[in-house]
Amino acid sequence: MININVLNSFLNISMKMATPLLLGGLGEIIVERAGVMNMAIEGIFLVGAWGGFVGAYVSHSLLIGLLVAIAASVLIGLVYGFLTITLKLNQIIAGSGLNILNLGLTIFMYRVQFGIPTTPLKVQIFPDLSIPFISNIPLLSQLLSNQNIFTYLAILCVPIAHIFLFHTRFGLNLRSVGENPEAADSAGINVARMRFFAVLIASILSGIAGAFYSIGYLGIFTDDMIAGRGWIAFAVAFFSNWAPISALWGSLMFGVVSSLSIVFLTTGIKAVPNELVLALPYIVTIVATMTRKSLRAPKALGEPFRKEE
């Protein structure tokens, strides 16, 4: 009964939807392993989307767009790090403030540059590349081939993050900072510097994730294009138990759920109200938050580190 084209497109879109969640989730895993929650993630996604679009539109180069996205998100990340690590302000308040500011700034800067165009501005998005050999495998090819570089990057980052966190000295030091910053400090590790580094990594990955929406998928920029997906990436870190490999499955699950609603819409299946399917990712997050019970959260997560004396 299910058309093979529909199935292919469903798998393909699922992976696409999962990509930014995976990128953002991996970044969040790294920064939370160091003990900091990136509460500005939604705003950084948006800044990444904006930077990517503006950079690509003005320079006619998608690569430049990506670089602009990264630069912009690093800037926001530095501000967030300054507020939460140096000034030791509450992470939720600092993040909320930055998210509000980012929303205003991106829209405003967009208007400053482009005014209110009569037809929405578009850019060419990153093309899908097919990987030889894999592209011949039915079904799987839709997940692992026929995707653009965002997806390949995201998938690549999974083993890289895993190796970095669990098989390098630096990763060990980073994880110790998140578990017991006093112990790390007494072992001679500069806790603040480590956390800043982690915030930077998270910002870069979140910025790339945001750029996916503008220059990797939709080809436009609107102020509501992120619609809480930054927060879902945030939640991915949480219930993948802060493990990169689990994040792959977690984000894929969300991708599947998001893609379901698109499939229903395009094929006109009215069995379930469309809004219910759209709400599914968020409902799942709520349920997971309640049941997953912070299995092995980094012990010092969210606490600013104050050196005695």
């Binding site: 001679g188 590790i189 005695e308």
Partner: protein
């Protein structure tokens, strides 16, 4: 004993409102175990934190091998081969032993050891000093004694030849403590040295070569083990400053109010905090629990008040079992509690004097009716209490965080007594208070005693215990070593008991 390894001369350290170290000298020789003996607040840990590089001294100097050195950080002290084992371990629970030991290590001689190589080195150290531990075990899997071993190996791994150990047997079982002493003897034999911070005379006599006694930030004695006697040491430790408050009248004790039987409680680190403790307090009696902090005092108070669960045993107030219920239950059955950490538990710093005074009364008439607070009545009663108890505050609306420690404590005491409890638990009630405030607290306790209340006084201040108590018990290692009426108690006896020396 041979060459002088290091020397601390004229060390002074001040904290806001406190002189932690005052002109302290210390010598350490090669192949020696030096015991730093003293009560709470003597200045031992501060002195060692200075040696280890966590604090900088305000006065004085440190010499290593005869040369003056500056130790401004822990990496400096590591340079001079000094390592420190803290009371609270600096370990990451969810990582393995190897991962903890190699944490933060910089490459030595151009390369970093791999995990396998590090594990091998750990095993070698383990064999050499009989500190065997599985390098690949997770810290949370290890009992406290083994966790401490990891800390020791960590120090030796980076080349420490001088180990500072801060109350190392505080969380150890007797068998584990013996193993630790074995290690100390071994370590010393290999030409290394140990500085041992403790308040336990038994340990000192077991393994120290020399003993230095600190009291109130000053050195009051320095003896070689051969010349030392327990009595003399105990006396030096607690001093002869006995200022006795005149007791108004001998106690008129009534029926038993508090009955604790075979109470066993676990501490936060899984250690045994209370071990089948039993005692009774009668109406009109002040029962003083003496002892160096960390021997179960905090857990005792919390368990009676319902903030902590007991593993086994019974706590009865006026015959009613209250163990393992809740603070509300204890409160409703006549237990009041002046907590040790008033700012963390007993007060809401961001609220006003009035609101803090009403912390337990706010939901009862006449202070509220049908869920609405009667602010006028609260203000009236608060003003009365402030005046009666001489709480110095600009107004009853002043936020408590702006008051002095003494006045904050007065608020806690005033409030608890308002509740007309049967049992008043007072944990370190005069800590951080000036003489005037402390006197006021003592006067209040005597008043409550005359009214027939039972008071459980937990204090590390021997003066306080001796001045106030009708009955004294000494808590050591989770056990009440001895319970005696005041007449039978003296500084000597209590000092010995506090240091773990039982009478024959």
């Amino acid at each position: 004993m041979s060459n002088l390894l290091l020397e601390m001369q004229g060390i002074a350290k001040y904290f806001p409102g406190v002189i932690a170290n005052d002109d302290v000298n210390l010598k350490l020789h090669e192949g020696e175990v030096l015991a730093l003996l003293g009560e709470n607040g003597a200045g031992k840990t501060t002195l060692m934190n200075i040696l280890y590089g966590i604090y900088k001294p305000d006065k004085g100097k440190i010499l290593v091998d005869g040369q003056e050195v500056s130790i401004g950080s822990t990496s400096d002290s590591r340079k001079y081969r000094i390592g420190m084992i803290h009371q609270h371990f600096m370990l990451v629970d969810v990582h393995t032993v190897v991962e903890n030991i190699i944490l933060g290590l910089k490459p030595q001689q151009g390369r970093t050891l791999s995990i396998a190589e590090s594990a091998k080195k750990i095993q070698e150290i383990g064999k050499k000093y009989r500190l065997d531990v599985d390098p690949y075990a997770y810290i949370y899997q290890l009992p406290v004694g083994l966790q401490q071993r990891v800390e020791i190996i960590k120090a030796i791994f980076v080349g420490a030849k001088i180990l500072i150990m801060d109350e190392p047997t505080a969380v150890l079982a007797p068998q584990e403590a013996n193993e630790l002493f074995e290690f100390a003897r071994n370590f010393k034999k290999q030409g290394n040295s140990i500085i041992f911070i403790t308040h336990k005379l038994g340990e000192v006599m077991a393994i120290a070569d020399r003993i230095e006694v600190l009291r109130d930030g000053r050195v009051v004695g320095e003896v070689r083990k051969e010349d030392a006697a327990e009595d003399g040491l105990a006396q030096m430790m607690v001093g002869r400053k006995v200022v006795l408050d005149k007791k108004p009248e001998p106690a008129k004790m009534g029926p038993t109010i508090l009955n604790v039987k075979n109470l066993s409680v676990k501490g936060d680190r899984g250690n045994v905090a209370l071990d089948k403790t039993s005692f009774e307090i009668k109406a009109g009696e002040i029962f003083g629990v003496a002892g160096v902090s960390g021997n179960g005092q905090e857990e005792l108070a919390q368990t009676i008040y319902g903030l902590r669960k007991a593993v086994s045993g019974s706590i009865k107030i006026n015959g009613q079992e209250i163990v393992n219920k809740s603070p509300l239950f204890s409160m409703n059955h006549g237990v009041a509690y002046i907590p040790e950490d008033r700012q963390k538990t007993g007060l809401v710093l961001g609220m006003s004097v009035q609101e803090n005074l009403m912390l337990k009364g706010y939901c009862k008439p006449p202070f509220s009716r049908d869920g609405v607070l009667n602010l006028d009545k609260m203000a009236e009663t608060s003003r009365k209490l402030v005046e009666e108890d001489s709480i110095k505050t600009p107004s009853i609306s002043t936020k408590v965080k702006n008051l002095s420690g003494g006045n904050q404590q007065k608020i806690v005491i005033s409030r608890e007594i308002q509740e007309e409890p049967s049992l008043l638990i007072a944990a370190q009630p005069t800590r951080g208070l000036d003489i005037g405030a402390a006197e006021y607290v003592h006067k209040t306790f005597f008043q409550e005693r005359s009214k027939g209340k039972a008071i459980l006084l937990i204090s590390t201040d021997l003066n306080e215990i001796l001045s106030l108590s009708d009955t004294i018990g000494v808590l050591y290692g989770g056990k009440l070593l001895k319970i005696m009426p005041r007449e039978d108690a003296d500084i000597q006896k209590i000092g010995l008991l506090m240091a773990g020396i039982r009478e024959e």
